[in-house]
Subunit: 187 residues, 2 copies
């Protein structure tokens, strides 16, 4: 956990908010600068370019997500409880940080991220599903597929809530997690 200067934090935070509001384009540095109460030069003191700012912003928030997953996995829970825990905790995180979710969605589908081959098979989530398959709790499906489907479903569910008219009741959220669980767990 590195220390991040206040100015850098302000730049990160402002960029996140503004990108959610005005989009990936439509958020010039000048706007970030004004919103963050920082001079233009300061941005270039911390980042080589706008592109690098955005990439670092992504990496930073990605690590926040990973930490959430790790925390759930560290708890002493049944396999099913862990699955529900990951789903609900990431969902809650997205609800509390809609700007992160929107930024992720934009980033992932942008040329910053496309053309990159990801090692989907690595990471805690893939391991978690691998373990479930070996235990017989989960259907025999490539773990990396299960990982991407799960993360996609969580994001979709959060957007369901965020995008408005469809605010989810607690019971409905449980129902949705149950859909995926029923789908991937061995009968």
């Amino acid at each position: 956990m590195e220390k991040i200067s206040d100015k850098k934090k302000a730049i990160f935070s402002s960029a996140l908010d503004l990108i959610k509001e005005h989009g990936f384009h439509g958020t010039p540095i000048s706007m970030v600068v004004k919103h963050a109460g920082v001079a233009a030069g300061t941005v270039y003191h911390y980042f080589d370019s706008k592109d690098e700012l955005i990439c670092e912003l992504y990496a930073y928030n990605r690590s926040r997500l990973i930490r959430i997953i790790e925390e759930v996995l560290a708890e002493n829970l049944s396999y099913k409880q862990k699955f529900f825990g990951i789903y609900i905790n990431l969902y809650d995180f997205y609800i509390d940080n809609t700007n992160v979710l929107i930024f992720f969605e934009q980033f992932v589908n942008s040329p910053y991220n496309l053309n990159k081959n990801y090692a989907h098979s690595q990471g805690q989530l893939s391991d978690f599903f691998r373990e479930g398959i070996e235990n017989g709790a989960i259907k025999t499906i490539r773990p990396e597929i299960l990982k991407v489907l799960t993360l996609g479903s969580i994001a979709t569910t959060a957007k369901l809530h965020i995008f408005g008219n469809l605010s989810l009741r607690e019971s409905e959220l449980k129902q949705i997690v149950e859909i995926l669980w029923d789908g991937i767990s061995s009968t």
Copy 2:
């Protein structure tokens, strides 16, 4: 089905390709113009602004998707077959038109589309799920939720294939559809 002039078609097509490659931003009109073999003014003959071009491009491709769904629903198939048909056909469409998928993802998460309240409860897919619930084929969950989850899952699955390392075998695709079906169908 309206007639679209060749130039307009070329502009649409170029914009789609270039946005996939260079992103939503990073695709100036000048680039579209060059790629389409058209003069700058021509764009503004057909569209009031770049924004409107993008919005029309979205509406046009959205209608293509809807047509695919309608075609499946019009066939004489069992309920489950229709569900699989919609999933597979939309998946195939995305695979054949990755530029549409990427464009959609960018558009949906951009300020063009955010802040809009959608009538998720309308449309053929919601009706389809409403019908399934009444028939007892589908769990009792708000149809609009089922709709969004399904469309999200299809997009995720297509991206799984597109983004590279995870090319799906026919059998795996079936497996994935089965996950969602198992999850939403009444046991």
